[in-house]
């Protein structure tokens, strides 16, 4: 039981607790806070995996920008306690068992496929952590077309959000 394992267990438990709290919380603001908890623990896990850049943008973009957007909309719409309607019988007797079955099946198949593998970075040739420099060189050479396309995507998203949110006069 080394320190990486301890950090993984701590962050993993934190992420799962946050995800369960997201589902169980009645107030949307509480769900948003739980989601921030999940994102921060995932950022620590990315650091553990040696992806420092991804961890940084996880904090900046996800826990920062996107969650601020969510909290902003919750505030603007004055979203209160979720009305608990009676869940349809189909959802309760078919949906929940199928959801749990899906979870168990995915866990089992992943474990069967990768359970016997050597640990991450545990082999003879331990991979170096992905440096931001390597990542950006790859991003601006091999993936430069998708990168430019995402800028168009963001532009369209901005325009779309503006048009949708505009009050018709």
């Amino acid at each position: 039981m080394n320190i990486a394992m301890l950090v993984f267990i701590a962050c993993g438990v934190m992420a799962i607790v946050g995800a369960i709290a997201l589902i169980l919380a009645r107030e949307p603001v509480h769900s948003a806070l739980a989601l921030v908890l999940v994102m921060i623990s995932l950022a620590i896990l990315y650091l553990l995996l040696g992806a420092a850049f991804i961890a940084a943008i996880q904090i900046l973009v996800y826990a920062g920008a996107i969650m601020v957007l969510f909290v902003f909309v919750i505030m603007l719409l004055n979203a209160g306690v979720e009305v608990r309607t009676n869940v349809s019988r189909l959802a309760k007797w078919v949906g929940l068992p199928l959801g749990i079955f899906f979870l168990v099946e995915m866990t089992y198949s992943l474990f069967r496929e990768y359970g016997g593998r050597a640990s991450v970075a545990g082999g003879a040739a331990a991979p170096v952590p992905a440096s931001t420099q390597d990542l950006s060189i790859k991003l601006f050479t091999e993936f430069v077309l998708p990168f430019e396309l995402t800028s168009i995507l963001i532009l369209i998203a901005i325009l779309g959000a503006l048009v949708l949110a505009k009050r018709e006069s």
Binding site: I23, P28, V83, G99, V120, T150, L153, I154, A157
Partner: protein, 100 residues
């Protein structure tokens, strides 16, 4: 060090919880959050595989997933605002024009 299977199982559990939240939540904003949770779970699997196989492509993909998630959140929340304005409610059961 931590075996990759642990990361993948954590990712699968988070994705499953996201699916359950997506199906069972009634508030449209919380449903959006469940979608973000699923995207995050997939990102974790990408980063773990990228580390395991020592390939940077997984990290690039995570980058693009985050960009698309940001765009999706912006447009999606604008749609939520329009729905809330027209229906005066955030409950998805009130949005049933297309329901069979």
């Amino acid at each position: 060090m931590v075996p990759i299977s642990y990361y993948l199982i954590l990712s699968a559990v988070l994705f499953g919880l996201g699916v359950i939240g997506f199906v069972f939540k009634r508030n449209i904003i919380t449903i959006f959050m469940a979608i973000e949770l699923m995207l995050n779970a997939v990102n974790l699997a990408f980063v773990a595989f990228s580390r395991e196989f020592n390939q940077l492509d997984g990290l690039i993909f995570v980058f693009f997933v985050i960009v698309v998630a940001a765009a999706e959140a912006a447009v999606g929340l604008a749609i939520v605002m329009v729905i809330a304005r027209n229906r005066k409610s955030l409950n998805v059961e009130d949005v049933n024009l297309l329901k069979f």
